[in-house]
Symmetry: C2
Subunit: 335 residues, 2 copies
Amino acid sequence: MKELSRDDLDDIHKFAVQLGKYAGQMLMQAARLRTGDTAAPQQQQQEHVQKANAVDLVTETDENIEAYIKSQITSKYPAHNFVGEESYSKGSSREYLIDDAPTWCIDPLDGTVNYIHLFPMYCVSIAFIYKSKPVVGVINAPFLNQFFSSCAGRGAFLNETQPLPLIRNPVPPMPAKAPSGCVFSCEWGKDRKDIPDGNLHRKVESFVNMAAEIGGRDGKGGMVHGVRSLGSATLDLAYVAMGSFDIWWEAGCWEWDVAAGIAILQEAGGLVTTANPPENIETSPIDEVRLGSRLYLAIRPAGESKDETGRQGQERTVREVWKRVRRLDYSRPGA
Amino acid sequence: MKELSRDDLDDIHKFAVQLGKYAGQMLMQAARLRTGDTAAPQQQQQEHVQKANAVDLVTETDENIEAYIKSQITSKYPAHNFVGEESYSKGSSREYLIDDAPTWCIDPLDGTVNYIHLFPMYCVSIAFIYKSKPVVGVINAPFLNQFFSSCAGRGAFLNETQPLPLIRNPVPPMPAKAPSGCVFSCEWGKDRKDIPDGNLHRKVESFVNMAAEIGGRDGKGGMVHGVRSLGSATLDLAYVAMGSFDIWWEAGCWEWDVAAGIAILQEAGGLVTTANPPENIETSPIDEVRLGSRLYLAIRPAGESKDETGRQGQERTVREVWKRVRRLDYSRPGA
């Protein structure tokens, strides 16, 4: 396999942007068929609504969009690998499949529950991964009119014009008392088993530690500025890249949920590492996230303060989060 | 005071819509000054950024917008009362002030924490209240390009064209096993005191009951489809009116946080009552919310099923929520 050049990467980025735009239109069109929106042809609309329940309709949309994206990619880049949420989920293995080869990693519809209920926080997510790193990311949230994109070395953007993070002259440093002053984004997820010390209870204990007043929770109270849950890992990462969320902590999601978001966030200057605190929180090196690890802690792009560099502020914040969260159990083969 | 006619109300609605549009522009313009957006005049931008910290900037925006809205209202409707978040908060009383007289109830910026961090979930909220009922509501979330409006008897709309709820041919009934199948919206709020059985812990206990698997939590597990926290009570209500959120349960917010949202939700066919379960959950009448009560439980517009009317489905859902949530303590004088 020959090395990809700068031009190759720029072409891939351009192609991914067009793909994301069209896939977003498909998604929005399918959503309109479920509403009383008069823009949708009425006959088509009635057929659609009468057909089946919302979940079936959404599954159909999901599969159609992935099939479209896959056909476009395999026609343009037949030598590239393809990992898509829909096709992967139908397989029996849960192994991590991405290696150093050029690979597209796609979620045709992230935020499926939101889409079923027509809550606007859903999106198409398209990532291109090279040498095991997400280097191109495209996220299209059509109901929000928000389109995020990035290409390694070329910057990350909202709607192709606004550079990320949004506040950038200068980019604010991490708050001195982080997580206090931070917006903390987290998700309840699908694992709702009421098992003592199971993932649900460990998550909630972590959320409460982050939220509680300073001095509370036996010193673990983080008094974050706000706690947010959107129901879309992809958009959580996009908002960390925007600088809107300071911290995102989540586990259990898959590479297609995060690959495009990680590409965009890293290009914007953010840090992504593991959700699970290591044994020695204060001194452990802060490794780059492993894409298939299912354990994610993301920190927004940060500027320098008089006392530290942006990276130092991010690492300080990582350690402060690790002090307050529990280890979660989401293992998988091959990752 | 003479009675308001149908025409009077329509005029008030038209005026409120214009007011909401302009106020939303002001909000977005102030936001742009804080970003690297090249649409903002550079000199103005630099002055703005150098001026002070984000919180001061936001307070200034908040006050400017409320002053603008108030001046427009008092010039057009000098006989009407005015309750605004900014002006109210500066007074020392926390008494509920709205009576049967025509009253405007305004939040120039709901979702302040979001706005500080430039997370798009913030909005202007304008309600007109007559005979103690919110009858006109306007919510403008300019960063989301979402504009919600309603007038009693005239319907509720997204962006003035899409009737609410969005899914309406027919409007889906409440799920048979609600809260299972429902998107549950809730907020962590500002009361983070780590007091045993304090509001924070009662809230979290309620959230976990709603989220946990069926059969878990000693039978209280609600297995909701998703848990969402946006950080804006106003937008939470708007999304309940859209039908995106099935249930919103929250306490501690004030009348300007909810008045416009309640107007829109009720006009769309939703139900709003108290967050606090009564003594007899199964048989207690489900009273309409008191605007100043600071305790809110909202259910989305619901269609009929073969077994029950939409209202019956909503009431069933209210009781199922009450079974799973704790009573919260947010008393106030005069309400």
